[in-house]
């Protein structure tokens, strides 16, 4: 069974898209990383060395040693590990792909809007050769 639909009528939280977090404490950093971990879009991590990594943050591990995150960079196939203590800022730069995509949001849309969106998805799938 492939689908996990969020049929919850609860209001969806506002998207973090566009926000930039500059943590000033370990607690701030941990909170920002948790938000990035739950975010369904790319983030941009500025590392203290000056390097900038843009990609999807898919994993993190908090340990008594050096805690880390793992990112799939948008421009490179291999995952990249970044340690918590290297992170200067985290910006939510990529589109939030989950925003407004709940089942509830879908059924409350106008019929014409649903048809337009469905046609768009169909056309994108056709362009990729997936139909």
């Amino acid at each position: 069974m492939t689908d996990i639909k969020q049929h919850s009528p609860a209001p969806q939280p506002a998207s973090l898209h566009g926000r930039v977090f500059t943590p000033h404490s370990a607690a701030d950093l941990a909170e920002a990383i948790e938000l990035a971990f739950d975010y369904r879009g790319d983030v941009t991590i500025s590392v203290r060395t000056g390097e900038v990594i843009c990609g999807y943050l898919f994993n993190r591990e908090v340990s008594t040693g050096r805690s880390w995150v793992e990112v799939f960079p948008a421009s490179h196939p291999d995952a990249r590990r970044v340690y918590y203590d290297e992170v200067a800022t985290i910006a939510f730069t990529g589109e939030d792909t989950a925003n407004g995509k709940s089942w509830d949001a879908w059924v409350t849309k106008k019929e014409s809007e649903r048809k337009r969106e469905a046609a768009e998805v169909t056309s994108q799938a056709q362009a990729r050769g997936h139909l």
Partner: protein, 338 residues
């Protein structure tokens, strides 16, 4: 009988072997997600909400075979994304069959008819076609008109070629029990081997009382659907899991029963929750805080009655208790005695 005897025997032998070895946590079904890309965009589907560069990632056949070997589950379910988009899917399936695993390829069937030539019929391969109800309900659920008819055509074509075909259906609280029963009639009339059903997973932060009512509503819905089952209905899943959905048995979740492997790694703790990823199956088993999950243990799990957590619990009940074993035998031999 919905599940072939050879498959029942394989699963029975596997479970008894694990028990004799004293293995406390063993997997039954590997949930293998070789890609997240889909050719549908069902509203609310959490599996496809990723940036394009993530949706474009694919597990290689070697990664898929390695994951199956590593965890050792006798059954491999391949959801996604839409597996038939993967250009090497037939190779992946062939390799899993060579390992003598029973493969359930979960598909929306849009590409199925076109791809059938790539898959020789085998007792080890089942096309599990996603059908969320009769035409109106299904097309609404997948957010595209016409998909139900395409899927029905593909089911007929696959059956005609001698393939094993089942359906998989996710039901939510708004399902109409009478329409679902008509849907079962329609699917069985097509000639499918069996049907798989599960409640959907929806999580929201809510007081415990609401969670309780939610589970109660799920039980009520499934009781109305599955009460007085028709003789022709066959379900390709544990009869005790169906009892559980109807509120006739109580289970705790078995999240390690259906471990999930995808482009991120081994998903902690289960198919539905994403709390992190392990590099190996062993790491998944050894480092996941399993006691933190399950009904009454975790708010995210409070409403969940989904197959990937509880079907393994039902199988454990079959092999772990006399009442579970006798009830399974009774319902397998006489499904209408429910």
């Amino acid at each position: 009988m919905a599940v072939p005897l050879s498959q029942m025997f394989t699963v029975t032998k596997y479970v008894l072997t694990q028990k004799l070895k004293g293995v406390k946590r063993y997997p039954l079904v590997l949930m293998l997600e070789p890609l997240f890309r889909c050719n549908l965009a069902c509203a609310g589907c959490g599996k496809i909400q990723y940036p394009d560069h993530v949706l474009d990632k694919r597990l290689t056949p070697e990664q898929c075979w390695g994951a199956a070997e590593e965890c050792g589950a006798p059954i491999v379910s391949i959801p996604g994304g839409e597996p038939l988009i993967h250009p090497e899917m037939a190779t992946i399936v062939k390799g899993l069959i060579a390992q003598r695993r029973y493969v359930y390829l979960c598909t929306n069937a849009i590409l199925l008819e076109r791809k059938l030539d790539e898959y020789p019929p085998s007792k080890f391969l089942t096309f599990s076609v996603h059908m969320d109800g009769l035409r109106d309900e299904h097309d609404l659920a997948v957010c595209r008109d016409g998909v139900y008819d395409v899927a029905v055509r593909a089911i007929k074509a696959a059956l005609q070629r001698g393939h094993r075909v089942t359906t998989n259906t996710t039901l939510f609280d708004d399902a109409n029990p009478e329409r679902v029963r008509q849907f079962f009639d329609e699917m069985m009339a097509l000639g499918v081997e069996g049907m798989m059903i599960s409640p959907g997973y929806s999580y929201q932060k809510a007081p415990d009382q609401q969670h309780f009512l939610k589970r109660e509503r799920t039980r009520e819905l499934f009781s109305r659907i599955l009460g007085k089952p028709k003789p022709g209905w066959q379900f390709n899943q544990s009869p005790l899991f169906l009892d559980f959905l109807m509120g006739r048995r109580e289970y705790q979740c078995t999240p390690w029963g259906n471990p999930t492997y995808n482009v991120f790694g081994w998903q902690k703790p289960c198919y539905l929750l994403q709390e992190g990823y392990a590099k190996t199956f062993r790491e998944l088993i050894e480092t996941t805080a399993w006691n933190d999950y399950g009904t009454e243990r975790n708010e995210k799990c409070a409403d969940c009655m989904v197959h990937c957590g509880y079907e393994a619990s039902a199988v454990e009940d079959t092999f772990g208790t006399l009442s579970g074993f006798s009830r399974t035998v009774k319902l397998t031999l006489s499904p209408t005695s429910r």
